[in-house]
Amino acid sequence: MDNMEISKEIQRISGVNPRKCMRCGKCSGTCPAYDQMEYHPHQFVNLALSGKIDKLMESKSIYTCLSCFACVERCPRGVEPANIIEAVRLWKIRQQNQNHLVADQIPAMLDEEIPQQALVSAFRKYKK
Amino acid sequence: MQVEEKEFKPTIVAFCCNWCSYAGADLSGTNRLQYPANVKIIRIPCSCRLNPMFILRAFQRGADGVILCGCHPGDCHYTTGNYYARRRMTLLFSMLDFLGIEKERTRVEWVSAAEGQKFAETMNDFVATVTKLGENHRLEDLRCKKQ
């Protein structure tokens, strides 16, 4: 699949039309994980539109999004950048052997107090 | 043997008030918004000029659907015309339904001069609805004895 086709798939999975974006950057102004990201929310939207998904998929940024929905809440054009990021992440992990998290890693991450919610969420988000 | 089915193209009469909906229809033209050629528009000064007789006449002469477009309630160029039209059409449509005539063949839609998009969408939708219903026989058959 070429990049533009993937871009269309991303738009389908996310249900987001990135053409609605007017490039104001409010999503990136709002993002609490901005400094830890290589690509920022507004770039996700733009790169999804221009078909440069491969760059995004290789970036750690897709696992840095906190799903806090601040960008979704504040976008003046109703673009929903978080949905795009999730779609790119899904596109990646739905491929073979691309799970970001495997069960073997888990024990090392645990501590006494960690709620299972954190485990479930992590698996749901980062693993096929 | 090959049977050639001719595609059914309903005849649709659209009555548009001069001030809002006719202008809205013009706007959808100006914006090149497509809708089927079966829709033919008749200009009337106001939706309240639409006599129920015109609708019945159209049906009797072979129309498959009739739609009335007027200014939105509250925006009538003549202040109150569309309020009367609204009552008249509600009762007329209800009566046609009562007689067993497909109620989807008649419709009222409020379209402002700025709603070219809505006009085209409405017409596309209405044509699709009437096409699905097929030809309009019932009103004609109403006074004919059962076969």
């Binding site: 104001c24 | 497509q34 015109f54």
Partner: protein, 662 residues
């Protein structure tokens, strides 16, 4: 039998590319009564019009059908053309084969067939057309301007200058509008009051202008040239003609805790007040919501100290009716409420202000005498962040989808003024785009950046957090690709502007149409930008859409010229397409009069005794053609069909139906 000529227009390729115009002409020539049919490149051109005129003469035509663009476009043109050679203009019909045919269809065969059918319907109608002669109505030579801001003031002055009387209805106690609240104006940085006040004085002194301040329009009846407008003069509890405007009462009133709307609530005023020093009329007004006397019956201080005896606590709202020939809508704008934009902490910190509030903070007539300090602690702000497009260009529920147009320039002005008056202040402007179309506008913006060192940052503020005495601003800088964290002292929000809330109900009174954003629509977006589609109603200023002062003044002037053009006429030629009743068939049942919105139908009892059936006197309806506007509501209400409409008769419409359904 009519002799009908059919003229099919190519409209360049607009029609001819999709409709086989030759075939349309040939086919329509076969219609009964059609004796001549032709096609031509541009029927509306002089050559095209001459072609029609020549054919009428040569062929002795009695009726004409033009297949062309929408009748809303050129019906008047063609009617004039046929009238020039002696044909009654109402013997012409236009088949709309451009907007409603060639432009919306792609298939040539289908479009051609439809064009023929539309032409046939027009031919069928012309067969039943009859010559109509329009009646005349006199014009009331006085204009009403609704709204006394700069748009209304300019428009009123221009109309008055031409020698016509103008009344201004302003809902506030003074004229002047938003411009009185503005400190300086871009791009010249003139003092707003200095250029506005003389105009307000002119309005007050002009003999042709009457100001109804603190008043509202309650009802509108009639039609172009003959409006009857009901005006409510709200009780201000001060006799306007007696008050000298000395202002003593506004100093002595013991009720001091009244939010001062002139300063947008940034400070307080007394319960009796004159909005500001240059107010016109300079008359005190009592705010009934706060006045102790009006609420409890105890106080009366203002009345005791008023030497002129102008105070009248018993004053009631006054209702009057006036006649006008034309109405100008200049109801203006307001910044939107920012409740739904709490990410900018507008409701959480007094130091987050709207641009209009900032205007007051900067103004010499403002709460701090023009010394810019923070509302919270009255300290001079050292870092100010301006946020553009707050609520503008926003498609989510709380926002406005349009560009508010003025924010880029006034923000630039604010930033520049801050840097000029307080050079040690850091000023940031967050923008999505900087829009500066206008004479000397972009130069102005560049000066702010280059000479005044305002930090323009392409990006948007995501969140403002009041923390301690700082406002923590988190924003994006899209060009450096980083997230910025600025500790600001003040944040100024360029709130979107919206049409004044009084506009929507007014539009209903005027039966003038509005767009989905509650701005009045113009009769034609390009060619009739200051007229509303309702004849006799004109538009000036932000009521029609966001615009800045120069543009508003320009539009107000244009509007005035249209009004003058109307008032200069002694008579208006009416619409001959009016209702008429056949008295031989009329029952006199009053159904038609019950639905007539204009009261155009009256009854008289007539003697019909010459008829054989023995009926003697009968009550029958008659229509006043000068009052009837031709909606046709009565024709449907009439059960006997005695009522009919010229130009859109039952028979004519039926014949169109028949032609289309054939």
């Amino acid at each position: 039998m009519q002799r009908i000529g059919v003229f099919v227009c190519h409209c360049g390729t607009n029609i001819a590319a999709t409709v086989d115009v030759k075939k349309v002409a040939e086919t329509l020539l076969q219609e009964p009564g059609v004796v001549y049919a032709t096609d031509y490149q541009y029927m509306c051109s002089e050559a095209g019009q001459n072609m029609i005129k020549d054919a009428i003469k040569a062929q002795n035509l009695t009726g004409v059908v033009i297949c062309s663009c929408s009748p809303r476009m050129h019906e008047a043109t063609f009617r004039k053309a046929v009238a020039a050679v002696g044909m009654n203009p109402y013997m012409l019909e236009v088949a709309n084969i451009r907007e409603q045919c060639s432009w919306i269809h792609k298939n040539i065969e289908e479009a051609t067939e439809k064009a023929i059918i539309l032409g046939r319907a027009a031919v069928a109608k012309v067969h039943l057309n009859a010559p109509l002669i329009a009646g005349q109505t006199p014009v009331t030579k006085r204009a009403l301007v609704i709204g006394g801001g700069i748009a209304g003031i300019q428009c009123a002055l221009d109309i008055a200058d031409a020698g016509y009387q103008v009344d201004i209805v302003e809902k506030e106690p003074t004229v002047g509008g938003k411009m009185t609240k503005i400190d300086k104006t871009f791009p010249t940085l003139d003092c707003s009051s200095c250029i506005l006040t003389p105009k307000m004085v002119d309005v007050a002194q002009n003999e042709n202008i009457k100001i109804y301040s603190y008043s509202e329009v309650e009802s509108v009846k009639g039609f172009v040239g003959n409006f009857t407008v009901g005006i409510k003069r709200k009780a201000r509890y001060v006799k306007e003609d007696i008050c000298t405007g000395c202002g003593l009462c506004t100093e002595k009133c013991p009720q001091k805790k009244v939010p001062n709307d002139y300063n947008l609530g940034l400070d307080t005023k007394r319960a009796i007040y004159i909005p500001f020093a240059q107010a016109v009329p300079k008359v005190a007004t009592i705010d009934a919501d706060y006045c102790t006397m009006l609420k409890t019956g105890k106080c009366g201080v203002c009345s005791k100290i008023c030497t002129a005896g102008a105070i009248d606590y018993t004053q009631q709202d006054e209702h009057l009716e006036e006649q006008y020939g034309a109405i100008v809508v200049a109801t203006g704008y307001n910044p939107i409420k920012l409740d739904a934009f709490d990410e900018f902490a507008y409701s959480q910190s007094p130091d987050v202000v709207t641009s209009l509030e900032f205007e007051r903070l900067m103004s010499a007539s403002g709460p701090n005498g023009g010394h810019l300090v923070r509302p919270s602690d009255h300290k001079e702000p050292k870092t100010i962040v301006f946020v553009q497009c707050v609520g503008s260009r926003s498609t989510v529920e709380c926002g406005k989808p349009y560009c508010s147009k003025i924010c880029c320039m006034y923000t630039c002005k604010h930033a520049m003024l801050c840097r000029e008056k307080y050079p040690d202040t850091e000023v940031y402007v967050f923008y999505i785009d900087v829009r500066t179309p206008g004479k000397n506008y972009d130069e102005f913006y560049r000066r702010a950046v280059e000479e005044y060192d305002v930090h323009y940052i392409k990006g948007m503020v995501g969140k403002v957090c009041p923390e301690g005495d700082k406002l923590k601003v988190q924003a994006s800088d899209l060009l450096t690709n980083e997230q910025l964290h600025i500790d600001a002292d003040m944040v100024v929000l360029a709130a979107a502007i919206e049409a004044d809330k009084s506009a929507r109900p007014l539009a209903t009174l005027l039966t003038a149409s509005m767009d989905t954003n509650d701005f009045f629509t113009e009769a034609h977006a390009k060619l009739r930008p200051v007229e509303s589609p309702t004849a006799g109603v004109f538009l000036a200023g932000c009521a029609q859409g966001p615009k800045d002062i120069p543009e508003t003044v320009t539009q107000a002037g244009a509007c005035a010229s249209k009004v003058i053009g109307l008032l200069a006429k002694d008579h208006l030629v009416g619409n001959p397409c009016v209702a008429h009743s056949d008295e031989m068939m009329c029952n006199g049942c009053s159904t038609c009069a019950n639905v007539c919105p204009y009261g155009a139908i009256t009854y008289e009892t007539k003697d019909f005794s010459r008829r054989k059936d023995g009926t003697l006197m009968r009550r029958v309806a008659s229509v006043n053609p000068a009052v009837c506007q031709g909606c046709g509501c009565c024709t449907v209400a009439c059960p006997s069909g005695a009522m009919d409409l010229y130009g859109f008769s039952t028979k004519q419409i039926m014949s169109e139906v028949d032609a289309i359904c054939k």
